[in-house]
């Protein structure tokens, strides 16, 4: 009788520990996913696109034309809504996230951004003044 009681008690404790471990793992998992989502967020994509575009403009010489696709994966999550050049800065608007600060470029050439005819990419033209 006593042995049975002891066995039951240890089994209950084991179940409790397993349940706790699962719950703790779930809680940490959820928060970890939330953190990963944040690091892969549109803010990072926007930063990458703005800096890449600014560097491309800086490194270009007059007469160069380059194209930036609106979406690489075809999903809405990385869809570029607009690229603007204002006050010597590049502003990229990614999937509902408006650019705040932009990134400065220093080229001496004229730079012009327009949407391609099929509206699937942005065309950036660098021309002599």
């Amino acid at each position: 009788m006593k042995i049975n009681n002891l066995k039951n008690k240890s089994a209950t404790i084991l179940y409790q520990v397993i349940a706790h471990v699962i719950l703790i793992a779930l809680v940490f998992g959820l928060f970890f996913i939330a953190t990963v989502e944040r690091t892969n967020s549109n803010v990072v994509k926007q930063q990458v696109l703005e800096k890449q575009t600014a560097l491309l403009i800086d490194a270009s010489v007059g007469g160069m034309v380059f194209e930036i696709k609106r979406s690489r994966s075809g999903l809405d999550s990385d869809y570029i809504e607009s690229i603007e050049l204002k006050d010597g800065k590049v502003f990229v608007h990614v999937a509902g996230l408006k650019s705040g600060k932009g990134y400065p470029y220093f080229t001496k050439y004229n730079v012009d951004v327009k949407l391609s005819d099929d509206e699937k990419s942005f065309v950036i033209e660098v021309s002599e003044k």
């Binding site: 409790q16 939330a34 990134y103 400065p104 220093f106």
Partner: protein, 198 residues
């Protein structure tokens, strides 16, 4: 405690007649209360763990600022652009720069000059300095002179590995120097410092 025969023990636990007559029922109640207590402790424990997880991961998520540093690349691009401007076709004509010694970026039509510090020295064959161009003078040059010590490899100290660290590029180029009509072999030493964009 000592109790005498006719004396009532005031501190003795009262006898539970009900419990005595129904020991199984009381045992069940005790178990139930114990189980409830265990459950409550478990819930409190999980809430506590969730709270700790929220603090650790939530705080890191809020303050985690992914920053891509392209300032060194900008310094390199600006360096190449300025070389093309100062040494057109590989020849530095010293007379061209009279009056533009402190406005070399303006001379080369570079925009957004506030972030850039440029220092260009041109030497002739005998290693005499024949031209000195600089923009962004004053205290700003303390950063490359003290922190970088003029060498890219010695970037140490102030703001190192932070988004406030400046981008730096230094390069020497072999050029031909035209000094008052006399052309000779020489070299051009260029340092470019790009400050943060904030």
């Amino acid at each position: 405690m000592i109790c005498y025969k006719n004396q009532q023990n005031l501190f003795a636990r009262p006898k539970l007649r009900f419990a005595q007559s129904r020991p199984i029922y009381v045992g069940f109640l005790k178990n139930k209360i114990g189980a409830m207590g265990d459950g409550l402790i478990s819930v409190i424990r999980i809430i506590l763990i969730a709270f700790i997880a929220l603090i650790i991961l939530g705080t890191s998520a809020i303050f985690y600022n992914y920053y891509i540093d392209v300032k060194n690349t900008e310094a390199f691009i600006l360096n190449t652009k300025l070389v093309d401007c100062v040494a057109e076709n590989g020849i530095v004509d010293v007379s061209k720069f009279s009056g533009s010694e402190n406005d070399i970026l303006g001379y080369c039509e570079i925009n957004n000059v506030d972030r850039f510090l440029v220092r260009i020295k041109v030497f002739d064959e005998e290693k005499n300095e024949v031209l000195f161009l600089q923009q962004g003078s004053g205290l700003s040059w303390l950063i490359p002179d003290i922190v970088f010590n003029g060498k890219k490899e010695e970037r140490k100290g102030l703001f190192e590995n932070t988004k406030y660290a400046s981008g730096y590029y230094r390069q020497d180029y072999g050029v031909r120097v035209n000094n008052n009509g006399e052309e000779s072999k020489g070299y051009l030493a260029m340092e470019v410092l790009v400050k943060h964009e904030f």
